[in-house]
């Protein structure tokens, strides 16, 4: 199955994406954010919470005076490390309880600071490298079933109920488990701490919760003889920190988009661009596959109309990810099955879009999202819409397949709903396993014309964005019909310009490790 598409248009789209990303990257290179700095501290080994449950990395970064902050938290912390001889965790705790103050070490020479940081940077890099190697060897010993990889969410709010649900789902055939975050966590400018049992529409992403879930899935993976992947969300104000925690706890995937937070969470665009870059450098090195959020264009507006925007966003996400050093095989671009089920030939349009994406991004582990918007309380019809989504996915060889729930319009999934959803996917993908290989798409037909139209419109859209610049374009409602000003939105106060002497030891280490283009 192949659609004839104009390769020159695809080339043009990639050129435009590069033109769009280049100036943003220059901006990124000259700035940092509080979350990047906190991620650096976390990687060095700082953790725990102080008074009022404020995480120690926040306490430390908040304690930096503005001038000092522009040089990066690492230097200040390195000075204290050099002087006190404490290890990072102990030093963090000592600062948190007031026994030390970072400002007191301002006089320590920069070289000493760098020297004191070195072993901890190396240790962090080594630990992440080990996690990555561990994943690789587990995957060899406990191979997954062939894609589409069935992915389900757990969202009870309680990490222990989530664990029960995740194990049950894995037994039923799920290959990837995502723990949905509690409502609004993406807007918190800190990462909660410890195991949590009270979330709302989801469960908090904390390092302890990551660990609990990882252990449970490793155990069930051994039992089932196939590795079960774990996913969480790195969108929001703490993108870099969550990427760091995920790297340390061997998560396998992270939701991570270069524009989602801006458009759908009203997070400041500069903050987002800087954060996504550092988090993606980390993801690249830790072998984590990112999942981008193009599905959101489709749930908030008409899916037929939004198709070109989805493709444009995929090109932009790809470009930003590559600039952060990620290989194509870790860039899980998003798409979704959201066309109105009552539209005649809507299935053909879905096939067109899914196949177009597959052909344009042949090496990406595409993430295919299920129908949500048009799901209703009619669970019987909903199950059928999910079935055609499953069929489209297996036909067009999508990689990461989020199982749709027949109760999507009703509640976060029940344990039984998940079992039915997985049964649906397994049945459809088994009985039609090689259907996509068995058919050819009619040249000049509805499907092909639709794909070509979407591509053409996408190029036109990217041309406009390249002309005015991405930040301007976002301000002018080019994406998802929302306007966001460059200096508005949440988290802008956490953005700052780098001092010429700014130092982030991991940036260099990650570049070295992965030869990220400068």
């Amino acid at each position: 199955m192949e659609i004839q598409i104009d390769r020159a248009r695809v080339e043009r789209a990639r050129e435009l994406a590069a033109r769009i990303a280049a100036p943003v990257e220059a901006f990124i290179a000259a700035h940092s954010t509080v979350s990047v700095e906190r991620a650096v501290l976390r990687l060095l080994g700082v953790d725990g919470v102080g008074a009022d449950e404020v995480p120690v990395p926040n306490l430390l970064v908040d304690a930096l005076d503005p001038e000092c902050r522009t040089r990066g938290a690492a230097l200040a912390f390195g000075r204290a490390l050099a002087e006190t001889g404490l290890d990072p965790a102990a030093l963090g705790a000592a600062i948190a309880d007031g026994a030390h103050r970072l400002a007191d070490f301002a006089d320590v020479p920069e070289a000493a600071a760098r020297g004191a940081l070195r072993p901890h940077v190396d240790a962090a890099m080594a630990r992440i490298g080990e996690r990555r190697a561990q994943r690789r060897s587990l995957l060899e010993r406990l191979p997954q079933l062939p894609p589409p990889l069935l992915y389900v969410i757990v969202a009870s709010g309680n990490i222990y109920e989530d664990r029960t649900a995740a194990i049950a789902a894995a037994e039923a055939g799920a290959q990837i488990i995502a723990v949905i975050r509690s409502t609004g966590q993406s807007l918190l400018d800190f990462v909660p701490y410890g195991p949590t049992t009270e979330g709302f529409g989801g469960t908090y992403a904390t390092q302890a919760n990551f660990r609990i879930m990882r252990a449970a899935l490793d155990e069930v993976g051994e039992r089932l003889g196939r590795y079960v992947m774990l996913t969480n969300y790195a969108s929001g104000l703490c993108m870099p920190e969550i990427a760091a925690m995920a790297a340390l706890e061997r998560l396998d995937m992270l939701l991570n988009d270069s524009m989602y937070g801006i458009l759908f969470r009203d997070i400041n665009m500069k903050r987002t661009f800087i954060d996504q870059h550092f988090s993606r450098m980390l993801n690249g090195y830790s072998g984590i596959i990112i999942n981008t959020g193009e599905d959101n264009y489709l749930t908030t507006a008409d899916a037929v109309e939004q198709a070109p925007a989805v493709l444009a966003s995929q090109f932009i996400n790809e470009e930003f990810a590559e600039r952060a050093g990620m290989p194509a095989t870790q860039i899980g671009l998003g798409d979704a099955y959201e066309i109105n089920p009552d539209l005649e030939d809507g299935f053909l349009f879905q096939v067109a879009q899914a196949q177009l994406t597959r052909q344009i991004f042949p090496n990406a582990p595409l993430k295919y999202m299920p129908p949500t918007k048009h799901m209703t309380g009619d669970i019987f019809k909903g199950h059928l819409i999910d079935a055609l989504f499953n069929l489209t996915s297996v036909m067009t060889k999508q990689h990461i397949h989020l199982c749709g729930m027949l109760t999507e319009a009703i509640h976060t999934p029940f344990l039984g709903d998940r079992a039915l959803a997985i049964e649906n996917a397994r049945y459809i993908m088994g009985t039609a396993r090689h259907f996509g290989d068995e058919i050819a798409i009619k040249p000049g037909g509805i499907i092909e014309r639709r794909a070509q139209h979407v591509l053409a419109e996408c190029v036109a859209l990217l041309e406009r964005v390249a002309d005015i610049g991405l930040m301007q374009a976002i301000e002018r409602k080019t994406f998802a019909d929302v306007s966001r000003p460059p200096d508005g939105g949440r988290g802008f106060d956490g953005v700052f310009a780098r001092h010429p002497e700014y130092y982030n030891p991991f940036e260099a280490a990650l570049r070295g490790a992965r030869e990220v283009p400068a």
Partner: protein, 246 residues
């Protein structure tokens, strides 16, 4: 009205047939099927047939059951007036406002509490509207404010007071742990406390909202799934016109 008792209908009047499905936290076995059967019998059903029972995970089994309920309901006694009764077109509504109210009607809408699901309230308010029915922003005789998502009830009440809002539209899509009822109640109480309740037509909406629930919460009307903007507009102007008359 005389009683009109109805029961679920399978293929014969009054057979009472109902389909159920559920998960039990037990390992599957024939005894689990029997447990499911007894459980459904205990719920008061007769002719219980466990047509599917199987393991869906270690320690969990899923069941599909058909059974007959002995219960009937008197549909003639159900009091659930719809808020969607005044069918008028956009043009008719604009004309109605011009004639009966004589000035623009000020309408504010928001998705309250921590709820960020704006698609529903946008469908009612935005120009574009919903299913080919234009949104309230397009009406000449409405001045419409869309406050967006995650709006605190205090902010909404302050806005109502400041802008002398005539009709207030609150949306709730997330219903987990009763958050919708809690937020709606809070809004109604705050308006009451501020002495504004009688000055506005107070409306709530969302996929799980019913007009009955709305009136129990002290709202003038409630609109559920599939609501069209013109239905809401018609209700608002009719209610306002009645107040004007009084």
């Amino acid at each position: 009205m005389s009683a009109q008792m109805v029961k679920p209908y399978g293929d014969t009047m009054n057979d009472g047939k109902v389909q159920l499905s559920f998960t039990l936290p037990v390992e599957w076995s024939e005894a689990a099927d029997e447990a499911a059967r007894q459980l459904v019998a205990r719920m008061g059903f007769s002719d219980v047939s466990v047509v599917e029972g199987r393991a869906i995970a270690t320690g969990f089994s899923f069941f599909v059951v058909y059974a007959s309920t002995p219960h009937a309901i008197d549909v003639s006694a159900i009091k659930a007036p719809s808020a969607r009764t005044h069918a008028m077109s956009m043009e008719e509504i604009d004309a109605f406002v011009a004639e009966r109210i004589g000035r623009k009607v000020r309408i504010a809408g928001a998705c309250i509490g921590t709820d960020a699901h704006t698609v529903g309230i946008d469908a009612i308010l935005n120009m574009k509207g919903y299913k080919g029915d234009y949104g309230l922003e397009r009406y000449h005789m409405f001045e419409t404010y869309n406050l967006g998502s995650q709006v605190a009830t205090e902010d909404l009440v302050r806005f109502t007071k400041e802008r002398q809002i005539d009709a207030l539209l609150a949306s709730q899509v997330v219903t987990q742990k009763g958050s919708d009822v809690r937020n709606f109640t809070e809004l109604a109480e705050l308006l009451e406390a501020e002495g504004l309740r009688d000055r506005v037509v107070l409306i709530c909406g969302g996929p799980r909202v019913t007009n009955l629930m709305a009136s129990e919460l002290g709202y003038d009307a409630g609109f559920g799934r599939g609501t069209l903007p013109s239905e809401v507009a018609a209700f608002v102007v009719t209610a306002l016109a009645e107040r004007v008359r009084q």
